[in-house]
């Protein structure tokens, strides 16, 4: 192989910690990482949140957040034969390279475009910044023409009009295309794509990755693809580097690494990757009358001419003890349906019955709460930051009198009983007993979601609505929570309405499913039927979006035998770690 474009050697990066100010107040984010990226090659950096993959990308482009610095190692970029060490270069010189030789495609197209600038102005920015002396009087027109050309190249229709529009007038996928146009404007040698599709709807993700692939081939650039998704890495990268806790687990040619992983951690990642999950075998059962019946559900926001129909005549049923998945992209109305089933708001029309009880009519009756509970997406927002875990889990019991299954008004005698039932609930969701006295901020995301589940279950509801309950979590944690949910369903006979955008998750836990698009149910049936023989084009598009190469599927180790840290038990409690929000998953 010829000299690589980029060679990282022994890179170490640390951040200033929140409280310390001296030399010792630093937290290591990346330690001793060495990587190579050849010309025209795609290298995938794979890892979960906190693995340091984003930090490596930021170090290369010289944009570490405040308080971050490169402590050791070199980042050599070989442009025209002579290598330069980006870690040693003065800031002004690095700035010269940014946008021209190294470009960034970032995670969230929603916030990566200046909201008060037109798309054209944003795309023109790198051209103007690096125009230098060549920007004469004719430069203006030349830049305009080039912007339109670029927008056209990234597949935006009517590029002249798009150039004059503002970011909020474009969809997420279109914005990401515009950002890619700006990134390739000066034909950089290196493109750093940091989770370029994580914020996009699944059906859009594939098209954006295809576009990146095409442009890379056309320009001969190298791509550093930062992703949490093994399937994406497997499909797009020539070589792959697996990171964990700031250190390199293993690196090599993609197929070699994934087919014969040397590290136990890589095997665990592979085992837990939802995209690779097989259709879970569900116990066969005799047909019965559904416990949950949703019929002709309509939900409109707004009134009169402004009314917007978020849910349009959706009908489905769920048998007792089974899981029904509502699948759809953003704006499909799935959350609206879930909240109606959880009796949190009234639909515009239609009926919802649980065990024969009219949920719509009774939604103001507190009694309905003992029938159906909701677990929401963000475990960071759903727990009161000032209350201990025991207080949070025990709260539902304090809302109900003993004859209703609670402990309200039982006085001091009830306190011991409350503590006992909280301890049982913690045990049920596999959390250690000593979590009880802690505050939410001392817990990891997965642990918090377990607490939210325990709170929902403590008053023994029959139906649980899980609204994207695992979407904010890393894959290994996600897998653990899904296992927990399955076990609870088996033991307690729970009925789940599982709301998700991810068909891969459906594959793992659903008995039946409804696919939603723009408020309409395009397909309803058993999960097996919908996933193996989809009837609707939209379902097929969703399925394709979560597909993984066949060789990778074959390479997946069996989940039950996957080694690594005991997957079924909760992780140790993290305490000193500063709290990060789910959005920081990087």
């Amino acid at each position: 192989m010829t000299e690589p474009l980029l060679r990282i050697d022994g890179l170490a990066v640390s951040y200033r910690t929140r409280h310390g100010r001296g030399l010792h107040g630093r937290r290591t984010a990346v330690e001793g990482v060495s990587l190579e990226l050849g010309r025209g090659e795609v290298l995938a950096l794979v890892g979960e949140s906190g693995s340091g993959k984003t930090t490596i990308g930021q170090s290369i482009i010289g944009l570490l957040p405040e308080g971050g610095r490169v402590d050791a190692g070199s980042i050599e970029l070989r442009l025209a034969g002579r290598p330069v060490d980006l870690a040693q270069l003065p800031p002004r010189a690095v700035r010269e390279l940014r946008g021209r030789r190294i470009a960034l495609v970032s995670q969230d197209p929603g916030t990566s475009l200046n909201p008060v600038q037109t798309i054209g102005a944003s795309v023109a920015a790198p051209l103007r910044i690096h125009a230098g002396a060549s920007a004469g009087l004719g430069g203006r027109d030349r830049i305009r023409r080039r912007v339109v050309e670029l927008l056209d190249r990234v597949g935006l229709d009517d590029p002249e009009r798009r150039a004059g529009q503002y970011p909020h007038e474009l969809s997420g996928g279109m914005r990401q295309r515009a950002l890619i146009a700006a990134a390739i404007a000066l034909e950089p040698e290196l493109i750093i794509a940091d989770e370029p599709t994580s914020a996009l709807d699944v059906t859009v993700q594939r098209r954006i990755l295809d576009l990146l692939d095409e442009l890379r081939a056309e320009l001969g650039s190298s791509v550093l693809l930062i992703t949490h998704d093994l399937a994406v890495a497997a499909e797009r990268a020539d070589r792959i580097a697996v990171l964990r806790g700031g250190a390199l687990e293993e690196a090599g040619a993609t197929r070699a690494v994934l087919q014969q992983p040397a590290s136990a951690y890589t095997r665990e990642l592979l085992a837990d990757a939802p995209a690779l999950a097989d259709l879970a075998p569900r116990p066969a059962r005799a047909p019965a009358a559904p416990l949950v019946e949703v019929a002709g559900l309509v939900h409109e926001y707004g009134r009169g001419a402004d009314a917007f129909r978020a849910v349009d005549a959706v009908t489905f049923g769920i048998e007792r003890g089974t899981t029904h998945a509502l699948v759809g992209e953003s704006g499909s109305g799935k959350t609206t349906i879930g909240r109606a089933v959880a009796a949190l708001h009234a639909p515009t029309a239609g009926a919802i019955r649980i065990g024969g009880r009219d949920v719509v009519a009774d939604r103001r009756d507190r009694g309905i709460r003992r029938l159906v509970q909701l677990v929401s997406q963000n475990p960071y927002a759903s727990l009161d930051p000032r209350r201990t875990i025991a207080q949070t889990i025990g709260e539902p019991l304090r809302n109900w009198r003993p004859e209703e299954g609670g402990l309200r008004g039982t006085g001091p005698g009830g306190r011991a009983e409350l503590a006992r039932r909280v301890a049982t609930a913690l045990d049920q969701v596999a959390l250690p007993a000593d979590v009880a006295g802690r505050l939410p901020r001392e817990l990891s995301g997965g642990q918090r979601q377990r607490v939210a589940i325990a709170r929902a279950l403590i008053i023994e509801p029959e139906v649980v609505v899980l609204d994207e309950a695992v979407s904010a979590l890393d894959v290994t944690v996600q897998s653990q929570i899904l296992d927990l949910l399955e076990a609870l369903q088996r033991d307690l006979g729970l009925t789940y309405l599982f709301i998700t955008h991810d068909l891969a998750v459906v594959r793992r836990i659903a008995d039946t499913t409804t696919v939603l698009r723009r408020g309409e149910a395009v397909e309803t049936g058993s999960a097996e039927q919908v996933l193996t023989a989809p009837q609707h084009d939209y379902t097929r598009a969703l399925l394709e979006a979560v597909s993984a190469p066949e060789w990778l599927r074959a390479a997946q180790p069996d989940r039950a035998t996957a080694p690594g840290p005991s997957v079924r038990t909760a992780q140790p409690v993290r305490t000193a770690q500063p709290v990060r929000t789910a959005q920081e998953v990087a």
């Binding site: 990566s112 402004d306 005549a313």
Partner: protein, 334 residues
């Protein structure tokens, strides 16, 4: 499996983008709200100032040293309409305000509108220049607090706004007078030219305005600099000048504009204090005197006019905002 399987209903295609209210309707609604606030303020000011024990006439003229007989007092009350029930007075007063008749000063007997017209120009000059100076100061402080060379210097500039709002305005005026005029003798106290006489009052009134303005600017710049699109701009090779001029300035302008109304209130307060300290005539002095002599009609006029100005300023900001932030332009597009 007894899942109800049915084909997706072939209903009318969903309306994907909800129709947004047109700008004109938003503007009308906003103007309506503003009018409501003005009317409510007028009523409140009237009730507040007429809730005096007895009434304004008694409060003003009943003191023994004036030696007025009860008959004379009663005549005065009739002359000022104070013998009418309060709601009749409210109606008369409102009618007067609508026709530009702000009543008569209890103190001097002059038309309130004449008094205000006479005192407005010097105050406008003071407040206008003060505001201009404050804006320059605030932008300077905010820019230095964000881009000054060393961390130490940036911190120093950041601590200026909290310091400025902690100092009594009248004290700033007196100390300025003491240092500039008496110690250094730069500006004569007596026989100063009109321009010279303006310098210290303008500086005095500018400081309490500059402080919150700088604070909001610094915060808005900080917020914008933390936005992902700024990182993206830096990833394109943008330097500080580009960032400040192209990415930050316009985004930081809007939060700054929203405190315009608050700053107007500060200007009024500043005018009262500054004009008292420097013994200048103007609206502030008129107000202070009206309070001292319980001259209710004058005070009421000043309060209502200020409230109208406040409401108009906020209305203007709201209607101007869409020009700065395209996201606020909710127009129905063809």
């Amino acid at each position: 499996m007894s899942v109800v399987i049915r084909p997706a209903p072939e209903a009318a295609p969903p309306r994907w983008r909800p129709a947004a209210p047109p700008t004109a309707r938003f503007a009308l609604r906003r103007v309506g709200q503003a009018l409501l606030v003005v009317v409510a303020t007028f009523v409140l000011a009237f009730l507040l100032l007429h809730a005096l024990p007895g009434d304004a006439i008694v409060a003003r003229y009943a003191s023994p040293e004036l030696g007025l007989t009860p008959e004379q007092l009663e005549a005065l009350r009739v002359a000022y309409g104070a013998d009418q029930p309060w709601w009749v007075q409210l109606g008369l007063s409102a009618g007067g305000f609508l026709t530009g008749d702000l009543g008569t000063s209890l103190q001097s007997g002059a038309e309130v509108s004449t008094l205000i017209a006479a005192s407005l120009p010097p105050t406008l000059a003071l407040a206008g220049l003060g505001f201009a100076l404050a804006a320059v100061l605030a932008v300077g402080i905010a820019a230095a607090a964000t881009f000054a060379g060393t961390e130490w210097l940036r911190r120093a500039f950041r601590s200026l706004p909290p310091l400025f709002v902690s100092i009594p305005v009248f004290w700033i005026g007196i100390v300025l007078l003491q240092v500039v005029s008496f110690r250094l003798g730069l500006i004569p106290v007596i026989n100063a030219s009109p321009a010279e006489a303006l310098v210290l009052p303008v500086v005095t009134i500018a400081i309490p305005i500059a402080a919150p303005l700088a604070q909001v600017l610094i915060r808005a710049i900080d917020d914008t600099l933390a936005e992902p699109f700024v990182i993206v701009a830096r990833a394109r090779g943008a330097g500080p000048a580009w960032l400040l001029g192209r990415e930050v300035a316009r985004n930081a302008l809007l939060p700054t504009l929203t405190i315009a109304g608050v700053l107007f209130g500060e200007l009024i307060a500043g005018a009262v204090v500054t004009e008292t300290v420097f013994a200048r005539s103007g609206l502030g002095r008129l107000t202070a005197d009206a309070v001292a002599t319980r001259d209710i009609p004058v005070l009421q006029a000043v309060v209502v006019i200020s409230a109208v100005a406040f409401v108009v300023i906020n209305l203007a900001v709201d209607l101007l905002a869409p020009a700065i932030d395209p996201r606020l332009r909710k127009e129905v597009r063809a």
